[in-house]
């Protein structure tokens, strides 16, 4: 099994499964509310010109995260 990486390290077009949220309090709540629970599939859609924020497809909605949020979501890449 692959090692977990932060969500912001994935390249465009990559798919991954959430393993863990490395956040507490409101940020954690927010990420959970957006549908990021362990096992959720996330796809990297595109990056803004400076590489941050990054847009992801999460359960059928496209949502952009800044690095500060994305790096708190640990994932394993799937093909």
């Amino acid at each position: 099994m692959n090692k977990s990486t932060p969500l912001n390290r994935l390249g465009n077009g990559c798919c991954a499964l959430v393993t863990e949220l490395n956040a507490q309090g409101l940020t954690r709540r927010r990420l959970l509310d957006l549908g990021l629970v362990p096992g959720t599939k996330v796809e990297v859609i595109r990056r803004s010109p400076l590489g941050d924020p990054i847009a992801f497809n999460i359960r059928g909605a496209i949502i952009a995260f800044r690095k500060e949020e994305a790096e708190k979501v640990l994932v394993v890449q799937v093909s």
Binding site: D33, I58, G60
Partner: protein, 259 residues
């Protein structure tokens, strides 16, 4: 002793929100995730032209309109789109405060039929606050186009609330939605939401807190929900309750002790 809010009740809190008091007109709230077509449903029902648009945060404050159905006037409140009622942002706070304190006669949760999974989180949260919930599966035309079939009866049974499929853009399902709204608002249909059961530990904590919460705030707001939020450490809710009930309930300060 001052006025407790049990004696002044729902009418007083409703005045704060500038919506009609119970009895005269029925108040219906429209909630839902961003970009599920709440404003389109709102416009289709009221005939108004509230601005619809596809960008986040379009309806930051609520919009209001009305329609007449079966000889009664219904005031419809279009709430901002949110993913959750655990207030992180202004929009979420507006939506939560309205559902929690204005006690609408019915709440319609507008869900995107093409990605139901992510929309039902909010539906479950709304069901924790109020029983009078209707789930409106909107964009059903889009779902059909994507060859998705939604089993409305099964969904309704699983949730314990009425579910109505609509395509607000073309008007499909709207008369059925109006019928369902009036059935629920007038008490002809009583939804029995199937609530989330938490871990034994949590349920025990809720059972311990609920009577205390009830003692302080009465049954005006759903005590199970308040207990859950307090266990969650939601201090914003306590602040909001203080704001809305300040003059009406001198015992409110006790809540801080509980939190």
């Amino acid at each position: 002793m001052g006025l407790t809010y049990q004696s002044t009740g729902r009418s007083t809190t409703r005045e704060i929100f500038n919506v009609p008091n119970a009895g005269s007109e029925l108040v219906i709230a429209l909630a839902g995730n961003p970009n599920t077509g709440k404003s389109t449903v709102f416009n289709a029902l009221t005939g108004l032209r509230q601005h619809t648009g596809n960008w986040p945060g379009k309806t930051v404050l609520r919009a209001e309109g009305s329609f007449i159905h079966g000889g009664r006037r219904y005031t419809l409140i279009d709430l901002p789109g949110t993913y959750s009622l655990h207030a992180n942002s202004v929009e979420e706070e507006v939506a939560r405060d309205f559902l929690c304190f204005a006690n609408p006669d019915a709440t319609v949760v507008v869900a995107d039929g093409t990605c139901l999974e992510r929309n039902l989180n909010l539906a479950l949260q709304v069901m924790e606050i109020t029983d009078n919930v209707i789930v409106c599966v909107n964009l059903i035309d889009e779902a059909r186009r994507k060859k998705m079939h939604i089993n409305i009866q099964k969904l309704s049974k699983a949730l314990g609330v009425p579910v109505v499929p609509t395509a607000a853009r073309s008007g499909e399902g709207l008369s059925e939605l109006m019928d369902t709204i009036s059935d629920v608002a007038l008490g002809r249909v009583m939804p029995k939401p199937v609530l989330v059961r938490y871990s034994d530990e949590m349920e025990k904590a809720i059972a311990q807190m609920e009577p205390k919460v009830r003692e302080i705030i009465g049954t005006h707001i759903n005590t199970r929900w308040v207990a859950l939020r307090l266990i969650d450490g939601d201090t914003k809710l306590v602040q909001a309750m203080e704001r809305y009930y300040k003059e009406q309930n001198p015992k409110q300060a006790d809540l801080e002790v509980l939190a």
